[in-house]
């Protein structure tokens, strides 16, 4: 052996370091491992087997150098392998990257009709006040819709209700018609339930009104009925005030004005303070600060009697208003027809 300027193992180390710089792919690193650490042809393996031929006095130093080389090769390969894997993974991910700003695949979003949303809000408010929810048929008899509610036959008060009649619907009190208000359910409830009664009755009603932005031959009302011993007119006012405070705003006030409905006595028009302008005057309240929103009154003794309830012992109040009208108010819907047209662009809104 001749002394060379550099120890041969050191030269190998330099060689490895140079090669390692080039090995960036998983495949190149793998090839590097085989070339240096391969079991039969590997350079490091070769150096180790050369140890046999090294003179005895140099064995220790040579061995130490080879071991140091092996350690560095192993260490470097491990590092290179993980770096190469990381790079491979990253490029695979890059290949799968998407333009996240592209339009998403949106499942269809369903919506409740605003009339349902408003009906539930109304029901919730009244259930909080201890009310049950009742319903009744759309096609009614004259007796339930009018006579039992103290509209005698041929009474001018019926003029207020332009009524649809069913063809071949019979005569007199059995005559079939489309209910003009939800009030017949008052009678149906009283005939089947003893006081105390507290019900709200949302439902569809019909009047022969031409279709325009404020009128529809089909619309929705919510009716309320309370019957018990000792129910007072003040209770009516307090109940409706509580209801409107829940529906609109804790600041809402209500105002009663006398009016006439045959099935209540006294009868009142209920106005609620305009919550849209705090009574300063706006388009919704026509500048008056008040919105006329309901009819109400103390149940007429004749109506109680028609419902099989003793008017001397029990008293009660009833009220009714338009769900469509409340929906229009609450959401600022400009045209009643929108509620029945079912334009998807309208139905898809949030309510």
């Amino acid at each position: 052996m001749t002394e060379a300027p550099g120890h041969p193992v050191d030269d190998r180390l330099h060689g490895f370091r140079t090669e390692a710089v080039e090995a960036t792919s998983v495949e190149a690193v793998q090839a590097l491992r085989v070339r240096w650490l391969g079991r039969s042809q590997g350079i490091v393996t070769g150096l180790l087997s050369e140890l046999r031929n090294v003179p005895k006095e140099e064995k220790a130093a040579f061995g130490a150098k080879v071991n140091a080389l092996k350690a560095e090769v192993e260490e470097t390969l491990k590092r290179l392998e993980s770096a190469a894997e990381e790079r491979a993974h990253a490029s695979a991910e890059a290949a799968r990257a998407v333009d996240v700003t592209l339009p998403p695949r949106v499942p269809p979003v369903g919506r409740l009709h605003p009339l349902t949303v408003v009906r539930r809000r109304i029901e919730d408010a009244f259930r909080g006040l201890g009310y049950e929810v009742a319903d009744g048929p759309d096609i009614e008899t004259d007796w339930h819709n009018f006579e039992a509610l103290n509209f005698p036959p041929d009474h001018p008060a019926r003029d207020e209700f332009d009524t649809f009649f069913v063809k071949d619907g019979g005569e007199g009190r059995d005559r079939l018609l489309l209910r003009t208000h939800t009030s017949p359910v008052q009678i149906r409830t009283m005939l089947t339930q003893k006081p105390p009664i507290r019900i709200v009755i949302p439902g569809r009603v019909y009047r022969k009104d031409a279709i325009d932005p404020r009128h529809s031959p089909v619309f929705h009302q919510v009716e309320g009925l309370t019957v018990d011993e000792g129910i007072t007119f003040s209770d009516l006012k307090g109940t409706l005030a509580a209801f409107f405070r829940q529906l609109f705003s804790a600041k809402a006030k209500i105002r009663f004005g006398p009016t006439f409905f045959p099935f209540v006595e006294p009868g009142v028009d209920v106005a609620v303070s305009c919550v849209f302008c705090d009574q300063k005057g706006c388009r919704v309240c026509s500048g008056s600060g008040w919105i006329e929103i309901m009819g109400a009154g103390m149940v007429h003794p004749k109506v109680l009697a028609n419902g099989g309830i003793d008017p001397e012992r029990f008293s009660g109040f009833a009220f009714g208003g338009g769900i469509d009208r409340i929906a229009m108010l609450v959401y600022g819907i400009p045209d009643l027809r929108l509620l029945f047209e079912n334009d998807v662009r309208f139905l898809s809104r949030t309510w």
């Binding site: 919506r111 069913v166 031959p217 089909v218 006294p266 047209e341 079912n342």
Partner: protein, 701 residues
């Protein structure tokens, strides 16, 4: 109804009220002043008078209310004023006979002779013109003035045109019209009459429609010299029926229909007679012909003050109650904590104690009413209508559908194809708004089709809509409502276009399975077993793409399918999928919430596929029941994995791959067990003629 400020003020002694204050106070006590035109004495107020208050449909009546509202005195300046009469008794000039005392309980008449027909005086003319009444002549305008003044409708006949009776006197007969009689009314229209009409006749023929309008022939003309003034009290129902039959509505009928004051007839005659003579000269014959077959007794009522307070939930001092009642003409007498009153003859609306309570609180002011709440009450959980419908709505909304709301009536033509879907025969309206609204719908699907067309015409084609509503059917012609009409609660669905269009894939058009899937999802959402979908034929659905939706008990709960092509074309829609379910039947089948729940199996189950080649006519339901029949409890589900038709499948056959899912709660299943079960299932499938199972030799092969 229009009122003149100055006219109201004529009944309120002292300075006339300010218009703004009058408006506010009248509104507060129940007479809503809708508009005011002009200002000062000439102001005209448009007041809404409710149907129960005909007594306030005139200036004196409204002034009486205004006096209470303004807390002022009320005074009728003409009360007690006499008429200057001549010497000739009216009874020697005309005669009145009431043949229908039930329909006319008072007919009063005066005769004025020797007058000239001239225009009415300026003051009266100005008043009437301000209310929009046309001016005709003094006698006619005078009667009109009385109507607006005190609410008594009058009519003036030309006495010389009334036919005489056998006694030689012009005769007024209040009777029913005879069959075939006619009358040309003041408006020039010939009216055909029947015994349903109450008429005023002379000795020969009808000369006026009682309470509605006079006849042309006997009307006042420029040449009239002698007048018979009529002032009567008619039955409201009789006038209303007569007016309705003829489609007429007049200022007179409006009041008579609502009820006039039977005590006001003579006062009305006197006021008119004074005006007529003042304008046209002449002499008022002596006395009033006043035929009154029946006199209604005065109506006493009692108002208990304790009851008033209990009813209102507030107190009104007895003194104030007394004032209010007195001012309104009730002549209250207080004793033993109650007011005894006599209802004034003009207050036909007041019938009972509660009406008196209303008078007190109305005039006291509703602003004073406190706000209280009734005693607490616990509502029953069961009494909650719409709870089930709301659950259905929420499930469908969660499934991405939009809730619609459509009219309950449709056109007869729209309804006809769907009649088999109705709960009974068609329910038609007698007086629909128009033909498109003539028929109560057989199913809400019709409204959804209208809505779909609306959207498609606006280029919105991808639709998922539902409506919860009623369907109507006629089931009988006599008996109770329930024996004649059947109303069912339904939920209807409509799908159209494609539902999940995205740029990354081709849009898939909606098909039958989207419909049956939506229905099945609803059933699952409600906790119902999956519906049985049975091939069925409905005239409104495409043949072969229609199914009856059956419950586990075989009861039909609804239907689902693709709309029949001709109908779809008529609606401008392409292959809409529609469904309709009976919510009454559905809700009765919904199981209650569980009262004990098993934990899901901890061990994963295993699955195995079977591919069957079978005739196209063999339905999935049959394949599935074949696999399930005799299968062990460990078979949890049978699912369709794929269907294949292609070159290697013979014509008329299809290949269906089924996935059988096995599992047991407490143990894991061995491959051998599963294979044995699979082979048993395959053997059952192979027993069906013409079937082959991949990988399993046919028996005997």
């Amino acid at each position: 109804m229009k009122f003149r400020q100055e006219w109201i003020a004529s009944y309120l002694p002292g300075a006339p009220p300010e218009t703004a204050r009058l408006r506010e106070r009248l509104t507060a006590i129940g007479f809503v002043v809708e508009t005011v035109e002009g200002d000062g004495p000439r102001a005209v107020l448009d007041v809404e008078i409710t149907a129960n208050r005909p007594d306030a449909m005139n200036h004196r009546g409204l002034a009486r209310e205004a006096a209470v509202a303004l807390r002022r005195e009320f005074h009728d300046p003409e009360e007690g004023r006499a008429v200057a009469e001549g010497a000739t008794p009216a009874a020697s000039r005309a005669k009145v006979v009431i043949e229908e005392p039930e329909l006319c309980d008072r007919y009063s008449a005066r005769v004025v002779e020797g007058l000239a027909v001239r225009p009415v005086g300026a003051a009266v003319g100005e008043r009437l013109a301000a209310l929009g009444a046309g001016l005709i002549s003094s006698p006619v305008d005078a009667t009109n003035h009385v109507l607006w003044d005190i609410g008594q409708p009058l009519h003036a006949f030309d006495l010389d045109k009334l036919e005489k009776g056998e006694d030689g006197l012009p005769t007024i007969v209040v009777r029913r019209a005879r069959p075939g009689e006619t009358l040309v009314t003041l408006d020039g229209v010939e009216r055909k009459l029947s015994p349903e009409h109450l008429v005023i006749a002379d000795a020969k023929r009808p000369v006026a429609l009682a309470g509605i309008m006079g006849g042309l022939e006997t009307a006042i003309s420029p040449f009239t010299k002698r007048i018979l003034l009529e002032s009567a009290h008619f039955d409201p129902g009789a006038v209303r029926r007569g007016a309705r039959l003829l489609g007429m509505h007049t200022d007179a009928s409006h009041r008579f229909e609502r009820g006039t004051d039977p005590e006001a007839t003579v006062d009305g005659l006197d006021r008119a007679a004074r005006l007529i003579v003042a304008d046209g000269g002449g002499t008022v014959a002596k006395g009033v012909i006043d035929v009154r077959p029946r006199v209604k007794d005065a109506r006493p009522l009692t108002l208990r003050i304790v009851h008033l307070h209990a009813f209102l939930g507030m107190t009104i001092p007895a003194l104030r109650c007394g004032q209010i009642l007195a001012q309104l003409g009730f002549h209250p007498v207080e004793s033993d904590g109650a007011f005894r009153v006599v209802v004034p003859s003009w207050r036909i609306d007041v019938e009972s104690e509660v009406d008196l309570i209303e008078e007190a609180i109305r005039c006291e002011g509703y602003d004073r009413l406190p706000e209280t709440l009734p005693a607490p009450f616990v509502p029953s959980k069961e009494k909650r209508a719409f709870a089930f419908e709301d659950r259905v709505r929420d499930l469908l909304v969660a499934g991405g559908l939009l809730e619609a709301s459509t009219y309950s009536f449709v056109s007869a033509e729209e309804n006809r194809p769907f009649e088999p879907a109705a709960p009974g025969g068609p329910v038609l309206l007698e007086n629909p708004l128009a033909e498109p609204f003539s028929t109560m719908r057989a199913t809400p699907v019709i409204g959804l089709l209208q809505s779909a067309r609306h959207n498609v015409r606006r280029a919105v084609r991808d639709l998922g809509l539902f409506e919860v509503g009623h369907a109507y059917g006629r089931i009988g012609t006599t008996g109770s409502l329930e024996e004649r009409i059947r109303e069912e609660r339904r939920v209807s669905l409509l799908l159209h276009g494609s539902r999940r269009a995205h740029w990354s894939e081709e849009a898939r058009p909606i098909d039958f399975f989207d419909g049956s899937g939506a229905v099945t999802a609803l059933f699952r959402g409600l906790g119902l077993p999956d519906p049985v979908l049975a091939a069925a034929s409905f005239p409104f659905l495409a043949p072969g793409r229609a199914a009856a939706v059956l419950g586990a008990d075989g009861r039909r709960l609804g239907w689902v399918g693709v709309l029949a092509a001709p109908l779809a074309a008529a609606w401008d829609l392409s292959d809409p999928v529609v469904a309709d379910l009976d919510l009454g039947l559905l809700s009765a089948r919904v199981p209650p919430p569980p009262d004990s729940v098993e934990a899901p199996a901890r061990l994963p189950g295993s699955e195995v596929d079977l591919t069957v080649t079978h005739p196209t006519g063999l339905r999935w339901r049959e394949l599935e029941s074949c696999v399930r029949a005799g299968a062990p409890a460990e078979l949890l589900a049978v699912e369709a994995k794929g269907r294949y038709r292609g070159p290697r499948v013979p014509e008329g056959f299809v290949k269906t791959t089924m996935t059988l899912r096995f599992g047991a709660p407490e143990r894991s299943l061995s491959r051998e067990e599963i294979n044995a079960w699979r082979d048993a299932a395959a053997a059952r499938l192979l027993a069906v003629p013409e079937t082959k199972v991949d990988g399993i030799p046919a028996p005997g092969a």
